[in-house]
Amino acid sequence: MADDETRTFPGARPPDRSRRVSSSGLGLQVNEWGDPDAPILGLVHGGFDFSRTFDVFAPMLADAGWRVVAWDARGHGDSDHADLYSWGANLRDHLAVITSASDEPIVVVAHSKGASEMLELLAGRPAICKAFVDLDGLPSPFSAPDINDRERRRLRRADLAASLDRRRRRTELRRRPDTIEGLAARRAPMNPRLPREWLEYLVTVGARRDPDGWRWKIDPVLHLGGFGPWRPAWSMQNLASLSMPFLGVLSGVADEPMGWKSRPQDVEPFLPPGGRLEHFDDIGHFLHIEQPRRMADLVLEFLEPHR
């Protein structure tokens, strides 16, 4: 293992404050940047990410006069590992953190799966939010048309058995230890457009150092994909029902493994009244990490009237 166990990244800044929120007894890690008296901006990460992945993006928003409140989903980052995980439980956790921060409506910026979850939460609880920015979290039923039904069933069947096998071994599951460089290399296939320097920095804020090496903190029972009858079309129904000002941002890079691959023409018919959609052909799914200044400027311009 290398002797140097710290990493820096240009512009990355740790949170100014941290606290815990109980979501029905489950501890969630909340990290904040910026003036505690500034208007609140909730920042929601995507699947397999954690709030410290905002270490560059969040300070840019905070420095523009927002109190940025980000949190780790259950089982992710420094939040508690849960007995059970579900989409609905994540929605409750989001609500618990938001209501712990303010009784008044706040603005929310969310990425990927976190954004898709917020679509559903805000469809049911519109009073908690006065403006919403969705960063590439707009799953449409028209994406991934290259997988036929037979192949989709085969994948689901394999995933079912693998998930049950993993549950059977739950108490034995451990994330594989590695060096900082090794852990960054293993994450690279999920984040192929992000620099290795960034991924190594992420290890030092998103993994823990055990005697035998670094391990990601995420609960080992969690895995990409999951199973259940979730359908991307349901997110479009939630999108159409939103009542607050809305900005959607789509990545146009087609070969991103973590992206939803939705196209503007898939989403536009479901935009809420007055909703705005931006599309970037040249940025991958992790828009706020790949081009943080450009995304921060876009978000700040949209949110300015909603302070």
Binding site: R153, R157, A161, P229
Partner: protein, 228 residues
């Protein structure tokens, strides 16, 4: 007999598995799955009298004598893993599910076709779930009540889970394609939400009253011994 209870590990949670009848230990067990908000029966139901092997009943997570998880997160797929813990401990079983248990029984029949030797889908609480399409969004932070059973989180979450007919049919196909039984799925329920209507209409599915369904799989259970 009064029921005998053993504890199975499901991660950090403990599941209560009850033996309602010892039966012939060389025969396959019949596993009963209760409905939403229910728990296992205290004694073997009359309709199981035709089953020659052990009769077991599982309390799902958050129900009966099983543990209550912190802060919910219930899905039918998580309950499917509860059943899988029984299959891991006891080997192949025939499964009868009531209501919510019927939906879980179908899922696990598709996921573990080599270990689930026939399922019976019966009427009961939680048969419809949240319907074929998502119900209106409803999110509320609930107060933790670790000693309360059934767990209120389970009641809220498992009464709203979406059950598309094509998802049910996928699991039916998995079960039919890999089962050693010709008709591994029997429908006894008279109430037919959309998912169950689709399953019952499939050519590979048999419809029988509950007691006859149990006897149907009991006979199927005996057939290899007769043939052998």
């Amino acid at each position: 007999m009064s029921r005998r209870t053993e504890v199975l590990a499901q991660g950090r949670l403990r599941l209560a598995l009850h033996t309602l009848a010892e039966g012939d230990p060389d025969r396959r067990p019949l596993l009963l799955l209760h409905g939403l908000g229910e728990s296992s029966p205290r004694a073997r139901p009359l309709w199981t009298e035709g089953w020659p092997g052990p009769v077991l009943a599982l309390d799902f997570t958050g129900h009966g004598e099983s543990d209550v998880p912190v802060a919910g997160g219930y899905t039918p797929e998580a309950l499917m893993a509860d059943v899988d813990a029984v299959l891991a401990a006891r080997g192949p079983c025939t499964v009868v599910g009531r209501g919510l248990g019927a939906w879980v029984a179908l899922l696990v029949a598709g996921a573990r076709p080599a270990l689930v030797c026939g399922v019976v889908l019966a009427d009961g609480s939680g048969l419809a779930g949240g319907g074929a399409e998502p119900p209106s969004s409803y999110v509320e932070v609930l107060r933790p009540e670790p000693e309360r059973r059934p767990d209120p989180f389970a009641l809220v979450e498992l009464s709203r889970d979406v059950r598309p007919p094509d998802y049910a049919l996928d699991h039916l196909r998995f079960a039919v394609e890999d089962s050693e039984l010709e008709h591994p799925v029997v429908v006894s329920a008279r109430v037919r939400p959309a998912w169950l209507e689709a399953v019952a209409a499939d050519v590979d599915v048999v419809e029988l009253p509950l007691d006859e369904a149990v006897t149907y799989f009991a006979d199927g259970d005996r057939r290899p011994a007769i043939d052998g």
